[in-house]
């Protein structure tokens, strides 16, 4: 199971600051070697192509040597953070860091997340729940 941190009330004026906030949550997490480098890599990737997915979802990510295992930092914002190229707002931001060589695990994680996040019921539950422990469960990341 990947390392998961959750921020129930993400407050950020734009995408880079949202990313910065979420990355900092991982500063003391196991598996993170260098938070600064993780942040740089994710910001660089975001600059290439915005990772806004529609339906209020954003998936900023990077495959980086700064982590030794998969790390996720999820942020929820009711007002939304501008992530899209045209300023579309994201209510759920899932930041992913993945070791460079674990492409298969990275793709599987993405696939899993996308499958769950596509379901409006899941998204509604995520937006409503007060318990951060619900997030990994709802996204299929928890080990049963």
């Amino acid at each position: 199971m990947p390392v998961v941190t959750v921020s129930l009330n993400l407050a950020a004026p734009d995408a880079p600051s949202a990313i910065r906030t979420l990355a900092n949550l991982l500063k003391h997490s196991p598996g993170v070697l260098d938070v600064q480098r993780l942040l740089t890599d994710i910001l660089a990737r975001e600059a290439l192509t915005p990772t806004f997915l529609g339906s209020g979802l954003a998936l900023p990510h990077a495959r980086t040597d700064a982590v030794t295992e998969r790390v996720l930092s999820i942020g929820r914002s009711v007002e939304g953070v501008p992530f899209g190229a045209a300023g579309e707002r994201a209510n759920l931001v899932v930041l992913i860091g993945c070791p460079k060589h674990e492409i298969k695990a990275y793709l599987d994680t993405n696939r899993q997340l996308l499958n769950h996040l596509r379901d409006p019921a899941v998204r509604a539950q995520l937006m409503a729940t007060p318990d951060p422990a619900d997030f990994p469960r709802l996204l299929g990341l928890a080990t049963p």
């Binding site: 915005p50 990772t51 997915l53 899209g84």
Partner: protein
Amino acid sequence: MTGQRLSSLLRLGVKLLERLRPTEAHQNLAWAVLVGILGATMALLFEHATAALQYLFAGQEGASLDVFKELNTWRRLAIPTLGGLLAGVVLTLGQRFIRQEATDYMEAITLGDGNIRARSTLSRSLAALFSIASGEAIGKEGPLVQLAAMAASLCGRVRHLPPARLRLLVACGAAAGITAAFNAPVAGSLFVAEIVLGSLAMETLGPLFFASAASIITMRVFGDSQPLYQLAAFHAPGLYEVLLLGVLGVACGLMACVFQRLLGFFHEAFNRLAWPLTAKLGLGGLFVGLVAVLHPEVTGNGYDVVKSLFSTPTFWDAVLLTLLLKMLATSVVFGSGAVGGVFTPTLMVGACTGFLCWSGFAALFPSLHLQMAGFTAIGMGAMLAAATQAPIMSVLMVFEMTRGYEIIIPLMLASVVGYYTFRATGLTSLYTPRRRVARDVFSRPLEAITVADIMQTRPGTALPTAGFASLARNFLTGGMDRQYVVDRDHRLIGVVRLEDLADYLHSRSLADSIIARDIAYEDAPTLAPDLSLPEALVAFTRAKEHELPVVQKKTCELLGTLSRNDLLLTLAEVGRRNVR
């Protein structure tokens, strides 16, 4: 088109592509169909050109034999001679194009590595055109096959197909050509499989069948679709008739031997004559013309003769004379250096032999009521089986040409007998090239072939920042399911797989969010360009992929890709040549 529509279409396309996953085998079949249509088109063009040229020479249209019968003495003499001279001129001028590897008889094209040079083929076909249109005793199927094969080769080279697949495509072209020439799709495929490729494996037979089918359908749309020789009602023969047909098989095997010797004799004779090519060809034409003055039936490839054997009652002495003159004329013409096919003349010799046998047996055993049509048709098959040493093709060819089911069993019997009789004489098949030139990659010993020799050199690549639209488009137009992510120095970074891209098709914004680098597998297994083929096979077994990139060891530069199918095809062909 709006960006949204385009994106939806691209996503739909990738979704379909991922579901349907056209494999390389399916692509080969699609190419085979295209090449089949092209081959039939070339055949139709050549037929029209021949008819037009014949009209120009003789001032009349119609079947070659009928036309020649109408001509006066002077023209019967002049036209073949003129045709020979013109053919000679074309060949002399085209000498710098024409490669020495060209086989004697045009039907059995040497595939080599699939590079059929256009200029060489066109020169030889033009020369053949002159020879055939002027009535010389050679077959037109040869140029038809060559032109169809050339068209296929051009297609394959434009697409940068690697050697093994190019060879297969050219074989499909040849099959299309034979099919178009004889209206015989099954025999056309088997001709190429048995004589040209020497293999009846399904990887090759499948595309060959498709090409032949496409060719025959095209011919039916634009030309006529009648079987070449209409066989009168043939009843299943009784035991004695079958035995006599077996004797016919022996006779055909021996006659094939005689024909082969005759061809060889004149080939040597003309070789010793130190004249320029044009003069030799002119001499060959002159000979045909002289004979044609008295016996016009010697002109043409013999198709008319066979047709008349089936339809009008003939006397055996007339047939014997025609047979001898025809064999002589064909041998002289080929010996003089004319370019053309020996297929139809062989059929004619077989038909006449069959007819003569029938005459003899019918006189000896009048109570058996032997059938002339059967002997004639089976004579063709047995002769063909003997001379080409391709019995399966021969049986099917005659069957397809006559479309009489009752003929198959005696035909098989006689063909096998003929095949073994000819083999017993120790001569080699008509289509064995006299000069064995082995310059292509498949003729090298296995140890001397490397991955670099047989790989595809234009792999589908993408930059790391390539977006979904560009990746999708490449997959859809390229027909492959792997793209190779390279940096600006063409060094391999990773591999993008179609099935991974397919995960992102759900919505437009989802699709638009990825770039190649996100989903590319780094550390994918690769092949070194200097790897031997057995080593490459081991690599494929370990990697469990159907395609591997070929990467320069030191610089990591992407040089090309090798598909497992191409590797297997190459190994099969190299193995086959080494056994011979």
